[in-house]
Amino acid sequence: MVNSRFHIFPWREEESLETGKVILRPTVDVGLVSGSGRARANALIDTGAPITVFPRGVGDRLRIDFPPDGSDGDEIVIMLGHRWPCVVKTVTLVLPPFEDLEWDAPVRFSVDEGLPFALLGYEGFLNRWAVSFNAYQGYTIVETIESFAERIPIDPFEEFQKGWDGWDRPG
């Protein structure tokens, strides 16, 4: 119980359809630090995203150096059917109320204006925390790996290893 650290993040109203129906998404406010630059931004926890991405303005707020407009940047990321040149920068991330558990991770910052969201994906977020979605009851729990391990009655890795003899590649 000593290591139990978790927080409940309720689903949030993020946008609406033209019909007036409100769309809920698992978003959080996350902090970023790079050198003397600081920023906070609303970001979607995206289990389908392999990386963590922020829009240009968040990078500007952090005083990150960007190449000229129209440049390919460090990497191309394809989102919403568009190619987004991105700068890759390792920054410090902070998820309130876990201010004491900040972590460093590579983040992609869009070079071009127009990206209308930030994504917390596998690299940089999901591989640092245990995240449980309970949309039935309206919340997402983010917790430390230690907290997750404490409340699960078995060791998932040990269970996995029982009788496991390597993966058979399909086909």
């Binding site: 139990s4 309720p10 109203e13 946008e15 359809l17 007036g20 303005g57 209308p116 994504l119 404490e150």
Partner: protein, 95 residues
Amino acid sequence: MRFKAALAKILAPAYPEEMGIARSVPSGHIPPVPRPIGIEQYAGRWVAVANGVVVAAADTSRGLARELIELGPAAEDAVMQFVRPPVAGYVIGVG
């Protein structure tokens, strides 16, 4: 015996104390966090929100960053976000 077994089931926490007492039936629904009041008027723009109030707005994220830098420490904790205008259909997947 059945009473004792039922009582033991109720009293035995399945999770650490901080996670609350395990319940066999879900006990409710947490209402979603509402959007800040009046944020609709910024549809299609970038805003910075602090304590539920829009403290800066701009047409682009870059413009918003400039505004926040000008505001200085007072806007340090303001959260940057894009205000999506009402959309015709669901936006799912970004790849």
